[in-house]
Structure formats: structure tokens, C-alpha cells
Amino acid sequence: MKNILLVCSAGMSTSMLVTKMQESAKEKGIDVMIKAIPQVELNLNLSNADIILLGPQVRFILDQVKASAGKIPVEVIDMTLYGTMNGEKVLMSALEMIGDGK
């Protein structure tokens, strides 16, 4: 199963996006693990992630996360998709990126 990890400062707004993404995955019958974590817990969760998505508010840690993520792709979530909590589009683009990377 694919594992998507979302990171933001407190894990609060990303957890709302996770709910939307999970709803969309359920609708589409996609079996996927999606989890939101605060920045400080990133290293504890790295090992089983297939992709790491950053909220726009933690865009400044992109280089740092890329360095610790190794081969795991790291992307910043599009601002418009984030602001409107478009779980479906975030999910689909994440799955597309995982697909490309393997």
C-alpha cells in the first residue's frame, strides 16, 4: 500500500486535508495510507513514506526535508489546492508522483 505523509507546522490544517484526501480515496476505491504530522515528528515517520507533501506554510524547510528524505520524493502542496482543501487533486497528483518515481 502507498504511504503519503503530509507535514505542516502543527499538523492541524494538514490533518483537515488528510480527511478530504481519505474521503476521495474511499470514493475512488484506492487503498492508500495518508497521515498528517507536525514538522518535529518528521524523522520518526520517514522510513515508510512513499512521498512527503509539505504545507505551503512550511515551504521553507523543503531543502532540509529533501536532505533527510533521501530518495523519497518531497513536494510542496499547491497553495490554491491547499487553501480550498482540494483533497482529490492533492491525492491524485501525489499518486502520480509516486508512480513516476518507481
Binding site: M12, S13, M16, R59, F60, M79
Partner: protein, 106 residues
């Protein structure tokens, strides 16, 4: 569907959060002597910050009209992000000035 207030909060978090990221990145650019990069990051940050402030203005109007309802955790988080972005905006500009002075001296 998202409720009205939640929508405002997320719009606020996204815009001021993006601004905050730019301000922090501007400090990093100045640290590496890239002052043109720092200035353009400040400009990008200001643009997002203004968008966020516009959303905040609308929220204040809702509050004044008694339409805010119950205070939620996400609203507090959005307000916190706004103030954090404002703080970093001030500090980023100060840091850039300091790094410029150091660059002249060294």
C-alpha cells in the same frame, strides 16, 4: 463541503503561511550573500501577506457583525500564523540589513 468559517481560516493559513515561508527563506538567501534573491523573496512574501490580510479583514467584518459563532481551534491557529508571519516579516527585513552590513565589512 467546508463551512464558511473553516474556509476563511484555511485561506488565511495558506496565504500568511506562504508569506512566512518566503520571509524565512529571505533570511537564508541574505545569509548566503544573495541579496537580490532575498529582496524578491520579501516581495513575494509581502504579496501573500497582503492577500492574507484581506481575508483577515473579511473575518473581522464577520466578527463585528456577530457572525463568527463559536471560536474554533483552527481559527486560533490561523490568527497565530498571521502574527507569526508578521513577526518574521519584521525580523527578515532586519536580518537582511545586518547581513548587508556584514558583507560590506568583510
Amino acid at each position: 463541503m467546508m463551512e464558511g468559517l473553516e474556509r476563511y481560516c484555511l485561506d488565511l493559513i495558506t496565504n500568511v503561511g506562504d508569506a512566512r515561508s518566503s520571509f524565512i527563506q529571505a533570511i537564508g538567501a541574505a545569509k548566503h550573500g544573495d541579496f537580490a534573491g532575498a529582496e524578491s523573496l520579501i516581495a513575494a512574501g509581502n504579496e501573500s501577506f497582503l492577500k492574507g490580510h484581506k481575508v483577515h479583514g473579511e473575518l473581522l467584518q464577520k466578527a463585528a457583525g456577530g457572525e463568527l459563532g463559536q471560536i474554533s481551534l483552527i481559527l486560533i491557529h490561523a490568527e497565530d500564523q498571521l502574527m507569526s508571519a508578521e513577526g518574521f516579516k519584521i525580523l527578515a527585513n532586519e536580518f537582511i540589513d545586518v547581513y548587508k552590513k556584514i558583507a560590506v565589512l568583510s
